[in-house]
């Protein structure tokens, strides 16, 4: 089972190595070879000792010859090992880099809908850490994997080369070790380990909840209780892991006592053989090699155990990356010319099993502005996202200029649409470069005009370096409203045919609110515009207002007509009027 797993991890990794694939094999081969070469001195040392013991005198030529080999082989082995290390590192870096590159490429190709409910930090962490994890295994464990699997073979050969009885005896501690390892790597042991990792994760989650709650529990004077809860979890976990560990106490101690103690088994066996009448000198001479290499074997067993664990971690990391990148891809067409209005034809859409839009049909004529209003969760934001192809409709069609939105070429589609959503962001480059994203070859005058139209001119004028100010460097701070104004200026430069606007829910200050509302109005002029409105003041002048409720269009028409209807829109409007009159303290009407 272990072997099968290993194969699958390595075969999964190889495609990421690209042209450096061969390095994996070189690294393994060199490492295996060096493993053998590094054991060779034992052989020659054994030869020397055996010779001395059996002949009783010191033969200079024999010793010199053997010593020469004993030096040359490990030196070559050392060189090979170093080479193996270099290759495994080069290979590992290629893999790490490619995992990141391929993942990021995939990520950037995802439709926008993919990103809607994913945390950027988490995505980043999974990709980068996952790649790092694989790298660690490849660079640091890989060479050892090969030598770990080759050396036992060599040792086995050694063991039986001289005296098979002594060889077999010297394997006893190895067998004992393997048996202990096996009993610890059983299903139960694995379950225990998994249980432990699960506990750690639970504790992490509990900690997040604890930390998140601190402001609340502290404000309400209950931090002692919440601390106690976490404290109990920590102690319970400690007790259970300690109990588990102590369960291995005798086995591990036995392993510790026997694994390197070849002599404990070899000596009685040798004495027994001598007692049976064989020449003590020969027996001693043959046993030397086993005294020399016996202890090494114990180390190798431990290593095998840890390697399978590391490989398991690499596998987990790859799984996580693949899981998070799994998402239906979108197909794009070739359309890039058509112009006209926006139309939704019997569109339905669900997030998972939750139906958000139910058979929506409406039209925004070319050059008109249609406003979407409705309670939060009514589906109006989803409509806007479908119009920018964040997602594809489950049923029905979204048409731009008479062509299905799916027919468009990706680049042309994005060129045709400007969207300004609530969480507007600037790039971390100079303001000028930020604005030029909207139109690469814009001249200063156009930039100036765009800033003016977006009500952002005074923001730039207030900066020491003006347009050359690099956003995100120390001290350049824009409030949400200011950032949105700059983003709107960029949209002015882009001058796209379709405009999709999502007004912010709550403006931090009325100053920004007023400016942004005016610039929205200007931006929508002569464009086909879809506007999500949270404050009804914005929608009064729209060509058409759609009242969305529970994923359906409940009412539609112009402001006055909707007021006369005395329906949902009217109640929203009344609510809005009431809220505008509120005062803090003093008397409310």
């Amino acid at each position: 089972m272990k072997k099968e797993k290993k194969k699958s991890v390595l075969t999964r990794i190889i495609p990421y190595a690209g042209k450096r694939k061969y390095m994996l094999f070189l690294a393994m081969a060199f490492s295996a070879l060096s493993g053998i070469l590094l054991l060779m001195p034992m052989w020659y040392i054994h030869n020397i000792i055996k010779n001395v013991i059996l002949n009783g005198n010191v033969n200079y030529t024999m010793i010199r010859e053997n010593i020469a080999y004993a030096v040359i082989f490990p030196c070559v082995g050392l060189g090979l090992y170093v080479l193996a290390g270099i290759f495994s590192h080069l290979f590992a870096f290629e893999v790490e880099e490619n995992i990141i590159k391929i993942s990021v490429k995939k990520l950037l190709d995802k439709p926008l809908g993919y990103f809607m409910n994913k945390e950027s930090g988490k995505l980043r962490g999974i990709i980068i850490n996952g790649a790092g994890e694989t790298h660690n295994v490849l660079a640091h464990q890989l060479p050892d994997i090969a030598s770990t699997f080759v050396s036992p073979v060599v040792i086995l050969v050694f063991l039986f080369l001289f005296d098979w009885r002594l060889g077999l005896t010297s394997l006893i501690p190895v067998f004992i070790g393997l048996i202990f390892m096996a009993t610890m790597l059983t299903a139960q042991g694995k379950k225990n380990r998994e249980e432990y990792y699960k506990q750690i994760n639970t504790l992490s989650a509990e900690t997040v909840e604890y930390v998140r709650g601190i402001p609340v529990v502290k404000t309400f004077g209950q931090s002692v209780e919440s601390f106690k809860r976490l404290y109990t979890s920590i102690i319970v976990m400690k007790d259970s892991v300690l109990k588990m560990t102590m369960g291995y106490r005798n086995k591990m101690s036995m392993f510790e006592a026997t694994s390197g103690s070849t002599a404990f088994f070899l000596v009685p066996a040798a004495l027994f053989i001598i007692a049976a009448g064989e020449n003590p000198h020969e027996v001693v001479a043959d046993s030397i090699i086993y005294f020399l290499i016996g202890p090494i074997f114990g180390v190798l067993i431990m290593r095998t155990a840890t390697i399978s664990q590391y490989l398991y971690f690499a596998e987990l990391a790859l799984d996580k990356i693949e899981d998070i990148l799994e998402y239906d891809e979108m197909a794009y067409g070739k359309e890039d010319q058509t112009t006209g209005g926006i139309e939704f034809k019997n569109v339905s859409f669900s997030y998972g099993s939750e139906k958000v839009l139910d058979n929506i049909s409406f039209k925004v004529n070319r050059g008109e502005t249609v406003a979407l209003v409705g309670r939060s969760g009514s589906g109006k934001t989803t409509i806007a996202r479908l119009a920018a192809r964040f997602y594809d409709a489950d049923e029905g069609e979204v048409l731009l200029g008479g062509s299905n939105i799916k027919e468009y070429d990706k680049t042309s589609l994005m060129r045709k649409i400007s969207f300004v959503f609530q969480n507007a962001r600037l790039f971390k480059m100079s303001l000028r470069e930020n604005l030029l994203c909207g139109k690469e070859d814009a001249i200063d005058k156009e930039i100036e005009q765009a800033l003016f139209d977006a009500g952002a001119k005074e923001i730039v004028d207030g900066l020491k370096d003006g347009l050359e100010t690099v956003y995100g460097t120390k001290g350049t701070y824009f409030s949400g409203g200011e950032a949105q104004r700059l983003v709107i200026a960029r949209a002015f430069l882009k001058d796209a045919e379709y405009v999709i606007l999502d007004e912010a829910t709550a403006f931090a200050d009325p100053e920004n609110e007023r400016i942004i509302q005016e610039s929205f109005k200007k931006l929508a002029e002569n464009k086909t515009t879809l506007l999500i409105a949270h404050r009804l003041s914005t929608v009064v002048n729209a060509d058409k207002i759609l009242v969305i409720e529970k994923g359906r269009i409940a009412e539609e028409g112009k402001h006055e007509a909707l007021l006369e209807k005395n329906g949902i829109y009217k109640s929203l409007w009344d609510e809005y009027r009431r809220s505008v009159n509120w005062k803090i303290g003093g008397k409310n009407d």
Partner: protein, 581 residues
């Protein structure tokens, strides 16, 4: 040694003490590992005693050997068991202690720390970190110190036995450790550079993900990719050089150890030829050297693990350097006036406040106005000791709040800001947090006053409905009303609130407004205000500009005195004409 451990590994005194004990037992265990070679030597001496008369013959029967071996095994087993028990008990206790200590510290951090979400990430990472910590402290750390000690002891014995051969056997240890440390120091320098580059890579990726809407909207995928790949390649290249250099150094120093046996073989052979040693000494040294390097190899392998510990210890130290707030836990102010006396403060992303003095009187509404970034929120948070100020004094009922335990202080405050933290339990329990041991009747009453009943009725299980992690099933306005219900239940004498909380949920804005009006009745109220209209009837208006007070007074006084106020009013007139048509 204890102090060294405490500092180096950010350990508690008990932890450091236990580590010392673990090193001791591990050293003993290492020494018992000399038993098997001893038996081997005895056997070889005895069998070859006829070869060299200089050695004293040992004559033990096979039975004797078996008995000795059994005794040795027995001792080794019990020493190992003793070491194992001590080690793991200590390691897990210490890691639990560190966890508890972290939790305890987090509780005492200034509240302002919690706005940044990386605190909970940091904490969660650290709780996870502890498993690495456990692994390192159960294997690497004791091994390194204990092997250092036991190898020194054994080395002294060997050198004492035969200096020349001893040197031939042992020279590789200092040399290979030296190579390793030299490479480590070199790596440390380049590593710092890499950490910086790597952070750029991480930031770049995170930013790319966060700005994906803009990137797609402006067809900048290729550009973003190119930019990221360039950074990535640069960082990988640097890391590659570092790792290959150190990788080679580690491999080299590890493998160098294996050369020790070769030098012993060579030197020993020459000495044997010269008649300086006999065959026993030669064999003893060869067998000794075959096993003496294994633990040293372990040291080198574990050193890499210790490097990983650096980041863990770094995070523990990071939390330990964060300022904790403590103070007198008994606090009974005479009244509930809040007085700012010449207060100055500035920190990271908090806006700077300079020489601010004003008093928010009990029973009055004090409104803070000013452009965003002028210090309104910062001032409000300072009043509840979210942070400690740099200069001046903040008094509550005449007492300096910096001397009061934050939790005792906060008993007097209800805070209604935009961010609301909810727990994954029922609405009822979420409200009950407002007052320990509140009866159901009290909760229903508070929910009603906070206008929660309007949405509670629509819930499948009413007030018993469990609302998911951080209340994900509720809208912004609903969450806000729960937080108001908590505040009503708490019935604290001072209210800090952000007016914007009302506009989180546009369609329910007036309901929230009504709830807020109920809440603030007859309390000391400090409100962060955004809309001019809402604050005109406040008892006191504080106009802030860039962290300083520009004007104070009620609406009428302000209108007369402050040009800035008049301008804000006229701007808001425009706003009203836009809004009300």
């Amino acid at each position: 040694m204890i102090n060294y451990f405490m500092k180096k590994y950010a350990m508690s005194q008990t932890g450091a003490n236990n580590l010392r004990k673990a090193v001791f037992s591990r050293t003993i265990l290492n020494l018992t590992k000399m038993f098997p070679p001893m038996i081997a030597f005895m056997f070889i001496f005895q069998s070859l005693s006829d070869m060299d008369t200089a050695e004293e013959a040992i004559a033990l029967t096979p039975q004797n050997y078996v008995l000795i071996i059994l005794a040795m095994l027995f001792v080794m087993f019990f020493v190992a068991r003793w070491d194992y028990t001590r080690l793991y008990t200590n390691v897990y206790s210490e890691s639990a202690n560190v966890r508890v200590d972290i939790a305890n510290r987090l509780k005492k951090l200034p509240l302002s720390y919690f706005g940044k979400r990386n605190i909970s990430d940091l904490a969660a990472t650290m709780m996870g970190d502890m498993s690495l910590y456990e692994e390192i402290f159960s294997h690497a750390v004791p091994h390194i110190y204990a092997t250092g000690i036991s190898t020194t002891i054994i080395s002294v014995l060997i050198l004492n036995y035969n200096l020349k051969l001893g040197l031939a056997a042992l020279w590789v240890i200092p040399v290979s450790l030296l190579i390793f440390f030299l490479s480590k120091n070199k790596r440390k320098k380049s590593n710092e550079k890499w950490v910086e580059q790597n952070r750029e890579v991480l930031d770049d990726l995170q930013e790319t993900i966060e700005q994906i809407q803009e990137i797609k909207s402006y067809n900048m995928e290729e550009k973003a990719k190119k930019q990221f790949f360039e950074k990535l390649q640069k960082s990988t290249k640097l890391k590659g050089t570092i790792e290959i250099v150190t990788g080679v150094a580690v491999a080299f120093s590890g493998m160098l150890l294996k050369m020790g046996i070769v030098t012993v073989a060579v030197t020993g052979a020459q000495m044997l030829l010269a008649g300086e040693i006999n065959i026993f000494v030669y064999i003893v040294f060869l067998i000794m050297t075959a096993s003496i390097y294994l633990p040293i190899e372990g040291i080198i392998a574990f050193m890499g693990m210790i490097d990983m510990l650096d980041s863990v210890v770094g995070r523990i130290k990071e939390i330990k350097t964060m300022p904790i707030q403590e103070g007198e836990s008994k606090f009974h102010p005479k009244n509930y006036d809040i007085e700012f006396k010449d207060v100055s403060f500035g920190y990271e992303d908090y806006s700077v406040v300079r020489n601010v003095s004003f008093t928010a009187k009990q029973g009055e509404v004090t409104a803070l106005i000013g452009a965003s970034g002028s210090g309104k929120t910062t001032l409000t948070k300072l009043a509840a000791r979210f942070w400690d100020i740099n200069k001046g004094k903040i008094l509550l009922g005449g007492e300096d709040i910096s001397k009061v335990d934050p939790e005792a202080l906060l008993k007097n405050f209800s805070i209604v800001f935009q961010e609301v933290v909810l727990f994954n339990t029922s609405i009822k329990e979420n409200i009950r947090i407002g007052k320990k041991g509140a009866t159901d009747a009290e909760i229903f009453e508070a929910a009603k006053i906070a206008r929660c009943d309007e949405f509670i009725e629509k819930m499948p299980n009413g007030i018993e409905t469990v609302i998911g992690e951080n209340g994900e099933r509720l809208s912004g306005g609903e969450r806000q009303r729960i937080s108001i219900a908590r505040a009503i239940l708490k019935d604290a004498p001072i209210i800090l609130m952000d007016e914007a909380t009302a506009s989180l949920d546009v369609e329910n804005e007036s309901l929230i407004q009504e709830a807020l009006s109920e809440l603030i009745r007859e309390k000391t109220v400090i409100v962060i205000a955004h809309r001019m209209r809402t604050i005109r009837s406040a008892d006191k208006i504080v106009l802030l500009n860039n962290g300083e007070i520009e004007a104070i007074g009620n609406d009428k006084e302000m209108y007369e005195r402050s040009a800035a106020y008049r301008k804000m009013l006229s701007d808001s007139k425009i706003e009203q004409t836009v809004t009300v048509n």
